[in-house]
């Protein structure tokens, strides 16, 4: 089985090269039979990659430690569940996994379009097979072959790093990779549009769902990663501006910009070059993220060993994509002219454009900070790095402007907003935002950034609630429906628009939760059993935690030192928490498990930071239980996960397949309707006129 997987990997390369050659020749010479053959090779490559993946999984399940990759990431004792995740636990497997997902999505795209949109398909197929072929070259020739054998057979493997043995960590990489690879489809359609010259909005319409699918997985992948860092890394935070974290954020930022800018092209025929550039840039950043995570180019908390061959191949590929992309855009420049231009800064176009520029600015700042050590080394010969303070200083103001635009963008009028449009839409939200600001000031809150975040959040929330209210009320009145039915119909009739609003609600929730970090409380205390510590939450109540003692045990896999804490909130019992140190026998590594008591208001987070005498404690010596703890009260953290869930639900609503909108007619209608046209979707709101 494993040998078959290895064979399949070797066959996949020539098949994909053959397929891409046929695809491009077939497209150029208009020969449908060649294109069909190329499309079939996509399915074949997908099948071969399934075999390769099964081969790797089989090697893990059968403890085949003669393979370097298995020996490095598994051990006999590892739970079966984690052996499956061996496919993406390390660099080599995850490159196969990347290719597998790409082949899956490519097959779906080819199958979906087997009878329609044939004019795009030759080059779509060709581009996708080119990307696949690139990954096969990497896997086979860049010293990262997952089937590389060791000169001997070790008795046992190194075991999976204990910090990777966490539910969220098994979810995080695959989710992120689904997001990365799904974006290859819009990229392939964009390239095909450039090559064939079909540069109307067709390629955008065809790939809009793919963009949302990609964005859905990217968002979830990032949130899962934050959740993992929060639960497993044990320092109480969820984001460290680590190069690898930044790498996953970069394509998210540009994909978000792209999602919004295509609406401008669909509605106003503008930003065509911009959209082409964004799709290429985002695709490059997905490759860059894979590369950065898996090459160890930049010092990082979790990057991998350095390998110059892979760095060279990746950089050559990215350079090639960039070069070809720019050439194609320049070649097609005459066909990418704007049909309109911006008439006023107070218009939806302008606010969407500002949103785009800001997202790109944020992406540039993050990229700059991430690559700063490399840049300075190139110029001055020494590495100068910037840490979290840099990223926070740059991205906090950017994020707040972006948050405000989340409210403004969807309701400000197209072309040029009238005074009436502005007052009608923004008077109440501004008043409520200021009210929140004043309210918190009176309550004694003095954290500047948090205050602004709360105020802007209130402003945006009001706008969205009012939009929902207006829509529901109008529908209830016109259709004579009850409010619950009216709001359901409202959302289901224009899912893109209202799903988008729900996403925005989630974004507001997440930003508010971020602001909670300004109020974090931290206490460090060394304690003997029976001693207590008192912590005052920013909400004013008090936690009393009593260290009850340490229990030590040895299992087959590890030593465990578990500290028990009882919690009292304002003097009343509020349960218990445990936090522990582990020592894994297979790789002699230590790990900390934190205790978290999560409520909607705040998390109480306890870390067993250090034991005075681990050996004594292991011998159950009652005098060796002295331990140092770190206690954190993290307000609002839970809302990051809830907000992420709301974003996911909104995205699913927006991308759920349904009857296609009658596009051409409504677009004209939308343009004709001027300021009254819809935010996201091409279908105008029939109720708009009545609402005012």
């Amino acid at each position: 089985m494993t040998a078959l997987g290895e064979l399949a990997l070797w066959i996949a390369l020539p098949i994909s090269v053959w397929g891409l050659t046929l695809a491009f020749i077939g497209g150029k010479t208009d020969r449908g039979d060649l294109v069909l053959s190329a499309e079939r090779s996509v399915y074949v490559v997908f099948f071969l990659l399934i075999l390769t993946s099964l081969g790797i999984i089989n090697a893990f399940l059968t403890d085949s430690f003669q393979y370097w990759y298995v020996a490095s990431y598994s051990s006999r004792e590892l739970e079966t569940y984690y052996k499956f995740s061996g496919l993406w636990a390390g660099q080599r497997g995850s490159l196969v996994f990347w290719a597998l997902l790409l082949a899956l999505f490519s097959s779906v795209a080819v199958f979906q379009n087997r009878r329609k949109n044939r004019e795009f398909m030759p080059y779509v197929t060709g581009v996708l097979l080119t990307i696949l072929a690139f990954f096969f070259v990497v896997l086979l020739f860049a010293e990262v072959n997952p089937f590389e054998r060791l000169p001997f057979v070790p008795a046992d493997g190194q075991g999976l790093n204990p910090q990777l043995q966490n539910y969220w960590m098994t979810m995080h990489p695959p989710t992120l990779y689904l997001g990365f690879t799904a974006f290859a489809i819009p990229f392939a359609f964009a390239m095909s549009a450039l090559i064939t010259g079909r540069l109307d909005t067709r390629w955008i319409v065809l790939t809009r769902r793919w963009i949302l699918v990609s964005w859905f997985f990217l968002t979830n992948g990032i949130v899962f990663g934050m959740r993992w860092a929060y639960e497993e890394l044990g320092w109480g935070g969820y984001w460290f501006w680590d190069p690898v974290e930044n790498a996953s954020l970069l394509p998210w930022l540009t994909a978000t910009a792209f999602l919004h800018s295509i609406m401008i092209q669909e509605n106003r025929g503008m930003l065509k070059v911009w959209n082409m550039s964004l799709v290429i840039l985002t695709f490059l950043l997905t490759v860059f993220a894979t590369f950065l995570t898996r090459s160890g180019l930049i010092e990082s908390v979790h990057s991998f060993a350095e390998n110059t061959t892979i760095a060279f191949i990746f950089l050559a590929f990215m350079g090639g994509v960039l070069g070809v992309g720019i050439l194609l855009i320049v070649w097609r420049l005459p066909h990418l002219r704007s049909e309109n231009h911006i008439q006023s800064f107070l218009s939806r176009e302008a606010s969407f454009l500002l949103n785009n520029l800001i997202l790109l600015g944020a992406a540039f700042a993050v990229l700059w900070g991430t690559l700063f050590p490399l840049i300075t080394e190139g110029f001055t010969g020494e590495q100068i790095s910037v840490g979290p303070p840099f990223f926070n200083a740059v991205n906090l103001p950017i994020g707040l402007v972006l948050l405000a635009l989340v409210g403004i963008g969807p309701v400000i009028a197209w072309r040029k907003a009238s005074r009436r449009n502005l007052t009608r839409n923004f008077a109440l939200p501004i008043a409520l935002g200021l009210g929140v600001l004043v309210g918190f000031l009176i309550a004694g809150v003095r954290e500047g950034m948090a205050l602004v975040t709360f105020a802007v959040s209130a402003f945006v929330t009001t706008i969205i609630v009012v939009e929902f209210w207006k829509g529901t009320r109008a529908r209830a009145r016109i259709e004579g429906e009850g409010y619950l039915k009216a709001i359901t119909h409202l959302v289901s009739r224009n899912r893109r628009r209202w799903g988008g609003y729900i996403v925005h609600v989630g974004v507001v929730v997440v930003f508010t939760a971020f602001a909670g970090a300004a109020f974090d409380v931290e206490v460090r205390q060394t304690m003997d059993p029976g001693e207590s510590v008192s912590i005052t939450s920013p909400y004013g109540h008090t936690y009393d935690l009593t260290y009850q003692g340490l229990s030590t045990s040895r299992s087959q896999h590890m030593w465990q030192w578990v500290a028990l804490m009882t919690v009292q909130r304002n003097g009343e019992s509020a349960g218990a928490l445990t936090t522990e140190k582990r020592h894994y026998l297979v790789n002699q590594q230590q790990a900390t498990e934190v205790g978290i008591r999560s409520t909607p208001l705040e998390d109480l987070y306890v870390i067993l930071a250090g034991l005075e005498d681990m050996q004594g404690a292991a011998d159950n010596d009652p005098d060796s239980q002295r331990a140092t703890f770190r206690f954190l009260v993290n307000p609002l953290v839970g809302w990051i996960w809830y907000g992420g869930l709301i974003i996911s639900i909104g995205t699913l609503i927006a991308l759920w397949p349904g009857r296609p909108a009658t596009r051409s007619v409504t677009r004209d209608a939308a343009v004709a309707a001027g300021s009254g046209s819809p935010a996201g979707g091409p279908t105008p709101r029939p109720t708009q006129a009545e609402v005012g």
Binding site: P154, D156, S300, L354, V386, R524, N587
Partner: protein
């Protein structure tokens, strides 16, 4: 060109703001990233290096680690990765990461005092060893 002038004004405006944020952010947050060898060589000619934040990567000298006690900080000695002759002592108040051992590769952030002791604010263990084990070690 003219009809798109608003677009370009916006573009330049945002670019300027972002550049300003990056510029101030970098100058406030930048730290030199040096090897112990570079650090000792540079500090002998340029004492102002004692005043700025530094990031230094090296290896903990086996046997040099003294755990923190009561009011005493953690103490250990770090050597250059390539030249183990080059060393300097480190003190560190906070909690060490789980993966810290007596011989691990570390990245320190902090200040190199005029007394020749590095006062670390953060200690990161390098993850080459954390996530990528070497099975070659298993053969022994």
């Amino acid at each position: 060109m003219k009809k798109n002038s608003r677009f370009y004004i916006g573009l330049v405006g945002v670019a300027l703001v972002v550049t300003y944020l990056i510029w101030t952010g970098v100058s406030d947050a930048m730290v030199y990233y040096l090897t112990p060898q570079e650090l000792l060589a540079r500090v002998s000619t340029d004492p102002s290096l004692h005043e700025v934040g530094l990031k230094v990567s090296g290896r903990v000298v086996p046997g040099s680690y003294q755990p923190a006690r009561e009011d005493e900080p953690h103490r250990f000695v770090v050597s250059d990765l390539e030249n183990s002759e080059v060393t300097f002592p480190v003190v560190y108040e906070d909690l060490l990461p789980d993966t810290f051992t007596d011989e691990v590769e570390v990245v320190l952030e902090g200040r190199y005092g005029p007394d020749g002791v590095f006062e670390a604010v953060t200690v990161l263990t390098k993850c080459g060893s954390r996530y990528e084990a070497t099975p070659e070690e298993l053969s022994t």
